[in-house]
Amino acid sequence: MADAVGAILVASVTLYAVLGGADFGGGLWDLLAGTTARGRAPRDLIDASITPIWEANHVWLVFDLVIFWTAFPRAFASVMTALALPLWLAVGGIVLRGAGFAFRKEITRLSQQRAAGAVFAFSSLLTPFFMGTVVGAIAAGAVPADARHASLAAWTSPTALLSGFVFAAACGFLAAVYLTVEAGRRHDQTMGAYFTRRAQAAAVVTGALSLAALFEVHGSDPAFFSRLTGRALPLVVLAGVCGLAVLAMLTAGRAKGIRSVAALAVAAVIWGWGVAQYPVLLPRTGMTLTSAGATQATFVALVVVAIAAVILVVPSFALLYTLQGRRLLGGGEQLAPPAAGRIS
């Protein structure tokens, strides 16, 4: 049962990464879109594609946290204590991202729009970075079993920092790939080409950073490296193949299925981490899924909630994405049109 809940946790982390991560990536491209006039078209597209769905995607994060603390309370308490600083910074980023994005829509004065947009964009970059350092620190075994104090060293190790960069880059990669599809739907070839170039660049950067991280782990944590290239090898290979496939599809201009392949690349990395670490929850502490765990009844309750989520939440998400895909969701004449459109 603990294994099942562990799998549920990794699955919902994956969903947060490929859905919520892309929304952060959108903020990254908003940040890099340049001056007001030049960045108008991409900001418009980013805003329109994030608007109706980001809150729903964001709920995966809350769900992840709840499953983590309910199923593995001791590990949760240790992580939250040892890695308090990057977690606080991520929390700050989450608040500013959400508020900045929501406010920018309603504001009409250009200078205020710019300020809100900048808050949204910067925090979209910083939040995944700090979350990445947290995951990196856990993977590197920097969290003790019963942590009582925050540790700066835990999340500033090369592994943790590299992991932070990989997260930020992967968000940008996902967002750029998704945005090529969004541009295609709107028959906007300029934006299609714009985000294709960025998706290619992001794919290369993300791949390079991932390889660098792998290389770094080879030096700093040979045992973890051997598990990554041992039983997790198929997943690591899958991630690489998917990454290359996305590059090829971008070059060939093939939009069909490209989002799934890109998401699969990111998912394979997360599952590779999970498989390499299994059944250990906090490496170098011996805390496993069962020893950090809750009682059988709690696990059963979580599995029931997960099944209910599949029955209730998955069709709802399908409805949301379908309506969004058919462009049935958008501002009306009385609801403010996306503000980014007027940043010019």
Binding site: P52, E55, A56, H58, V59, L61, V62, F63, L65, V66, I67, T70, A71, P73, R74, F76, A77, S78, M80, A84, L87, W88, A90, V91, G92, I94, V95, L96, G98, A99, F101, A102, F103, K105, E106, A150, A294, A297, T298, V300, A301, V305, A309, L312, V313, S316, F317, L319, L320, L323, R327, L328, L329, G330, G331, G332, E333, Q334, L335, A336
Partner: protein, 467 residues
């Protein structure tokens, strides 16, 4: 003295700033949560009237309110996330020990939060292109999951007040009875009390906005409709809230007698206990309160001879530290609730006799402050329930000091939270005021063409308009 210092050093010096931070973030979020729970129902009511009766004013209000809802849902989503993080960042001791117990209702809440956020995405952004009734139905899951989500979260708080449903051996949880955790004894009064409070905050809150407009001389159908759509549901629910609250207080006298003693100033267990209205308790003296003989005994057991448990039944260390705050907040909550009841009765009386709203200025002044009064009453209620449970985080089992983080620096995060939430709160209010100004301008623009073609109704399929 040295004992206290020692205890503080052994426990955690962080529990006071951690509590201050939790109070700030929760006190901020709970207002948004109230609107998240209840505003969708009010918006759906307006849209229903708009669709059913072709009432264009109600339809315009529904559209505008859903834009407000969009802002509040976004800020509420992030301020709620902050709380999820704080559960671990501020209270790792609580989570380490009881995370697997209190996590179960939270997991359910996650489920409802999903449904709320997904359908909010559809409803809020589907105004233009979804057909009328389909759009209306897309809002129903938001209202339903808002209530169910609130019930899940309140079940956690109820569990902290009356913990049960698990066995603990050698400091570890060995078994959990999920149903008992989901429905602790106090849930039966806490759940309706908070959900009704949410409807009162949102209803009186919406009404306040239009009462201000009416006071400023905008005595038009638009403002009266807006006022009625908020005021009527809230005023109807207020008497039920007072009944629930009365039951809750009597149950707390049994479930958490020390909390009740603090609420009512009962230092010693006794019969014929008086009721204190107001008054500040300092060192065994009550300054400036109004004393009603036997009243507290009467309220608890309907007889002057009813024995009420005082806080002398537990050692001083197990008593809430600031008794006067609990008592005054309790009185403020009851007082404001009763005031809102009277305002509702006034409107009902005038309607019954004259089929119109009351005309006196006082009624509209009260309507204008009703939203604030409901918010203050609700916040006071939370102060009573949380402050009254101290020094415990899980009543009788774990102290707040044991639950708090062992990390330093909570004062730093507290400072950032105060500044950050201050800015976000100010920006939220600023944006709502800005929307209101924009709408007033729009209405003025519309005004010169009273005999023009009817404006396109929100929900008519607008494909011709689009293309």
């Amino acid at each position: 003295m040295s004992m206290t210092l020692l205890a503080a050093a052994q426990g955690s010096a962080q529990d006071v700033p951690a509590r201050a931070q939790m109070a700030t973030t929760l006190g901020f979020h709970i207002i948004l949560a109230c609107f998240g729970i209840a505003l969708p129902t009010i918006v759906l009511l307006a849209e229903f009237i708009g669709l059913r009766k072709g009432n264009e004013v109600a339809m315009r209000l529904a559209r505008r309110w859903s834009q407000v809802m969009g802002v509040l849902v976004a800020v509420g989503a992030v301020s709620g996330t902050v709380l999820s993080f704080e559960m671990g960042l501020l209270w790792p001791g609580l989570m380490r020990q009881y995370g697997s117990v209190l996590g179960v209702p939270f997991a359910l809440e996650g489920l409802f939060f999903f449904l709320e956020a997904i359908f909010a995405g559809i409803y809020l952004w589907g105004w233009q292109r979804l057909p009328g009734w389909a759009h209306w139905w897309s809002g129903v899951p938001i209202a339903v999951s808002g209530i169910l989500g609130a019930m899940s979260v309140i079940s956690v708080n109820a569990w902290m007040n009356t913990p049960g449903g698990f066995t603990e051996k050698n400091g570890r949880i060995t078994s959990v009875d999920v149903w008992q955790v989901l429905f602790p004894r106090s849930a039966i009064y806490e759940m309706p009390h908070m959900i009704l409070a949410a409807y009162m905050v949102a209803g009186f809150g919406v009404a306040s906005v239009y009462a201000v407009g009416i006071l400023r001389g905008h005595r038009d159908r638009y403002h009266y409709t807006g006022f009625a759509l908020g005021f009527v549901p809230a005023a109807i629910l207020t008497p039920f809230q007072i009944l629930v609250g009365d039951t809750a207080a009597r149950s707390i006298a049994q479930d958490q007698p020390v909390k009740f003693a603090a609420m009512e100033y009962v230092p010693k267990s006794a019969r014929q206990v008086p009721e204190w209205l107001g008054g500040v308790y300092v060192n065994g003296h009550i300054y400036g309160g109004l004393k009603i003989p036997f009243m507290d005994s009467l309220l608890v057991g309907f007889r002057p001879s009813t024995k009420v448990t005082g806080w002398d039944t537990v050692p001083p260390a197990d008593r809430p530290p600031v008794v006067w705050l609990i008592h005054l907040c309790f009185d403020a909550m009851v007082g404001l609730g009763s005031l809102l009841l009277l305002v509702g009765l006034w409107a009902a009386w005038t309607w019954w006799r004259r089929r119109r709203w009351p005309r006196p200025l006082l009624f509209w002044l009260l309507g204008a402050v009703g939203g604030l009064a409901a918010i203050v009453a609700m916040e006071c209620g939370w102060v009573v329930t949380e402050e009254g449970r101290q020094p415990w985080v899980v009543y009788g089992l774990q102290t707040t000091a044991q639950a708090a983080t062992t990390n330093g620096g909570v004062l730093t995060s507290l400072s950032f939270v105060i500044v950050g939430y201050g800015l976000v709160g100010a920006a939220t209010i600023g944006i709502l005021l800005m929307l209101s100004r924009r709408w007033r301008r729009d209405d003025l623009d519309d005004a010169p063409v009273p005999y023009g073609p009817p404006p396109v109704l929100a929900n008519q399929p607008s494909s011709q308009v689009e293309s």
